[in-house]
Symmetry: C2
């Protein structure tokens, strides 16, 4: 009827939301499906292999999400991009915690490290691209370096996620802070005090010179 590996990956998502990563068992995942633990083992030898496959699955969704972000202008698209990793994180807190647990395992686990690097590269590339567009069309200041901003925002988004898990700092406050950074630091017409909205998009009318 349905595709077992896909079912298992969706079940893994639900199980991570409920149990986090460290405590997760193959049985927890089986409990989220109609399959037995043995059938899951038929597809994935162990929890680690399943988690690696899950990260690949997550990456495919991530790539779609950050490809061609919504927005009329580069500033709007940049806000959409950073928000996609912060403001819209309505995933269960346990899921974000699980991702942080996986990051903390990364130095001991080459397969995790390689997957995390792909996420990091893809997000950095996506930011660099939209910032480059913005510099080219005059939305952003001409002295803005897309490489520097891309790395800066990737680091900031990592921090927003970590601080959310570690001390419960609200993701929407981090999103607002980064909108302020985009408005103050990047927009070529920052003196005009152009509103950089959050939920309803960014008003950068008149920002291109």
């Amino acid at each position: 009827m349905t595709d077992a590996p896909t079912d298992i990956l969706h079940a893994t998502h639900r199980a991570l939301c409920e149990h986090g990563y460290a405590e997760l068992t193959m049985q927890d995942i089986a409990d989220e499906t109609d399959l037995s633990k043995a059938s899951i083992h038929y597809h994935y030898d162990c929890k680690h292999d399943l988690l690696v496959a899950f990260l690949d699955h997550l990456y495919e969704r991530f790539e779609e999400r950050i490809d061609d972000p919504d927005g009329e202008t580069p500033a709007e698209r940049l806000c959409t991009l950073v928000d996609s990793l912060m403001a819209r994180q309505s995933d269960a807190p346990a899921f974000q915690t699980a991702l942080l647990e996986i990051k903390a395992q990364s130095p001991y686990d080459d397969a995790f490290r390689k997957r995390l690097q792909r996420f990091d590269d893809a997000f950095t590339d996506a930011v660099r691209e939209v910032v480059s567009e913005g510099v080219a069309d005059g939305t952003f200041r001409e002295d803005v370096d897309p490489d520097v901003v891309a790395s800066f925002l990737t680091t900031f988004v990592n921090g927003a996620q970590t601080r959310h898990v570690g001390v419960g700092h609200p993701l929407d406050e981090s999103a607002e802070a980064v909108h302020g950074y985009i408005g103050d630091r990047l927009l070529s017409d920052s003196r005009a005090n152009v509103a950089v909205g959050s939920s309803e998009g960014v008003d950068v009318g008149g920002a291109s010179e």
Copy 2:
């Protein structure tokens, strides 16, 4: 001869550097001292209690480190402050990984959460104070909001640490990026292209208006 609890806390630091947090055992800590595992259990019931005591010990050192940061001007002091959590991290990578593991445990562990909140508050407060000084003496632009910058930089520093552990992003690159932010976004005289150095301090000569 020496103070057993202090010896144990120092041994915990060394053991975390070697083994990380998840795999750490009381025996690993005992192996770093002249004490038996039983003597360590005499002072601390379990690994968790010892880790909580260790975080308190770390916090005391942290408070000293961020109190009255070196520098002639608020901009220099702000760089010293952020560098203290990034550029100078010559601690073993495993130690930083251990701290990230502890952050990832925080949602399940009130004692950890409370300690992490103290670190977060102390760093935010320290940044807010030096930024306020800088706004007051004209080093920083008068439209700079110390609360916003304090939270922004705390988030960024969290991100630098996470990205360093997760994908090996160099801490000195993150430090350089944040110096750029301070120079471009905060300094009142940013058009003068004032050098914001790293190791040898910050040259903000002429920045106060």
